[in-house]
């Protein structure tokens, strides 16, 4: 099924012409309106007029999450704030989040691309879409929501969590499409089993899952437990939110919506663009975004691009499932977590030289569990159990309020967290996807 057949099946030649025109317009806009980009392009010896072909994109400089942080909060906006009708934010590497903005037209575009994605996942105006992505600064909830309204489906904006209520609504409303993180689906399945809910008897036919890496194994497991067909959706708030790429019914890679975004795969070490089919870091350039355009944004996600024609008829290139990260970012229950954020929390609590370890696990209950091991410093040891437990709780509360994620804090003895070359190893990820 197509939402916008003309755009989705546009012949490559025509698509590339459109991309080039949009790219030139976008680069001219950021050069003119965003001092950061003007400086970036000047330093690289580039001018908007230099772009004669799509290949010229490779000569333009990258932007990174650090650039976003340095321009916090609105420094990279290409329109006056009065033209921005919404902001969203994602985790930064330290205390400050990465803020993105949307003009009215950006929100329209996003809704349209999300409508495209949901349609690819089998949703129609006759469907009841239970949206269990979190609503708020996170782009997941509202992104799906606007797309679902755009196609005219019945949206149930239940947001994340409250599993018993999710299950009740699914049964009572006859939800036909479920949107959430894939791991939450498995968690709900466990809860449903415990509560005696017959999942196979539900009306769900499609699940549109994203915001965290998952695997074909997980897909098989989800489909074995639920009556639905599971689709992978990709997006990141810096680039827009969900709806940057989506699987079609063939489910062999995610079509990147190339009329709005140009994807590239680069070698993360050299920055060289890699040919189709090779694995590397995924980079995006936005073509139509007004408030928050991005030039060659390094996502740190690892993927590959496949240009071969797809049986579904779409001409847009496909990207492989995300297989990892080039940095140490973790995605826990859909929330991005950087070890450096944990470090700033500990520093804020008076730890002068925090030694900590993040242990992520996905146990039988299927939900990611984050344990933060913190080495007890001499000065923090008190003889009372209560004092130490309060310390654990204080760290946990602070992590929750800064990262928005509940973690179990465990105090460990000094010098027990392994160090390599003086630097501690920060993450142990025991999840098997």
């Amino acid at each position: 099924m197509f939402w916008d057949r003309a755009s989705e099946t546009m012949p490559r030649e025509e698509l590339e012409k459109l991309q080039l025109a949009r790219l030139r317009d976008m680069v001219a806009r950021i050069y003119e309106r965003v001092p950061f980009y003007r400086e970036l392009l000047r330093q690289a010896g580039c001018e908007p007029g230099d772009i004669k072909s799509l290949e010229d994109l490779r000569r333009l400089p990258f932007t990174t999450k650090e650039d976003l942080r340095e321009n916090y909060p609105f420094g990279l906006f290409a329109v006056p704030l009065e033209d921005v009708i919404r902001v969203h934010a994602s985790s930064g590497t330290t205390g400050k989040p990465c803020v993105v903005g949307y003009t009215r037209r950006d929100i329209e575009t996003w809704a349209d691309l999300m409508a495209r994605a949901l349609t690819m996942g089998g949703a129609t105006r006759g469907d009841v879409i239970q949206n269990a992505y979190g609503y708020g600064l996170f782009t997941g909830g509202l992104g799906i929501h606007y797309g679902a309204e755009r196609i005219g489906a019945t949206v149930v904006p239940v947001s994340g969590g409250h599993t018993k209520r999710q299950l009740m609504l699914m049964q009572d409303f006859g939800s036909t499409v479920l949107t959430c993180t894939p791991s939450y689906t498995l968690y709900m399945a466990e809860e449903a089993q415990a509560a005696g809910v017959d999942l196979k008897g539900l009306k769900l036919k499609s699940g549109i899952f994203g915001a965290e890496p998952w695997s074909e194994n997980m897909r098989r497991e989800i489909e074995a437990r639920w009556p639905l067909k599971a689709y992978d959706i990709y997006g990141l708030s810096e680039v827009m939110g969900p709806g940057v790429a989506m699987e079609c019914e063939v489910r062999q890679g995610l079509h990147v919506f190339e009329d709005h975004f140009i994807p590239e795969i680069i070698d993360p070490a050299t920055g060289q663009t890699l040919p189709y089919g090779q694995t590397g870091e995924l980079v995006f350039t936005t073509l139509t975004k007004e408030a928050f355009p991005l030039l060659r944004y390094r996502t740190r996600d690892i993927s590959a691009l496949y240009p071969e024609p797809c049986a579904c008829g779409r001409t847009h290139v496909r990207m492989a499932r995300i297989t990892g990260r080039t940095d140490d970012m973790l995605i826990i229950r859909g929330v991005n977590v950087f070890p450096s954020q944990i470090e700033s929390v500990l520093l804020g609590l008076g730890y002068t030289e925090p030694h900590y370890l993040l242990v992520v696990d996905r146990q039988a209950r299927r939900l990611d569990e984050l344990e933060v091991w913190v080495e007890l410093s001499e000065g923090m040891f008190t003889d009372a159990v209560r004092g130490l437990e309060e310390l654990e709780q204080r760290i946990a509360r602070e992590l929750d309020s800064v990262l928005g994620i509940r973690a179990r804090v465990k105090l460990v003895e000094p010098r027990t967290i392994p160090r390599s070359e003086g630097k501690a190893r920060r993450v142990v990820d025991r999840r098997e996807l």
Binding site: F381, D383, A384
Partner: protein, 143 residues
């Protein structure tokens, strides 16, 4: 009147307790009384030893997280109701006991119990006013 107690932070890992007693044993320090308070993750080992300052130094050198805490060593009649004699006056004075534990060895014919309370001086006064003997550190270490 105070007695120095050694407190050691221990993760709940097998062998840690044995290491503590190894370190003390090798250093010629004798353990007089001990107790462990534990949670699912960690424990606090509390020790009364023959030479607290030496024990503190030895354990620290061996990489343990240690501190010295003052406690009261209270001598009680070794008969039913003996402990209540000390607890009642403290309760009446509104003092909370953080923890207590007993010595295995006996000082004379009496029982010896270690008390940790928030208000150490007040607690000592309350007990002494009732004629309860607090055993000084030097005597406890020598037991």
């Amino acid at each position: 009147m105070r007695v120095k107690q050694i407190s050691v932070f221990l993760e709940n890992k097998s062998g840690r307790l044995a290491q503590v007693s190894d370190v003390l044993g090798a250093g010629g320090v004798n353990i007089r009384a001990l107790s462990i308070a534990d949670t699912t993750d960690f424990g606090i080992l509390r020790l009364i030893v023959s030479d607290p300052d030496r024990a503190y130094r030895l354990l620290k050198e061996a990489g343990f997280t240690v501190n010295l805490t003052d406690v009261l060593a209270v001598e009680l009649e070794d008969r039913p109701g003996g402990l209540a004699q000390a607890l009642k006056p403290l309760a009446e004075a509104g003092m909370n006991i953080e923890y207590l534990y007993a010595f295995v060895q006996k000082a004379r014919d009496a029982a010896l119990v270690v008390f940790r309370v928030e208000q150490m001086d007040e607690a000592a006064n309350v007990l002494q006013a009732r004629g309860i003997r607090l055993v000084p550190g030097e005597e406890v270490y020598r037991l």
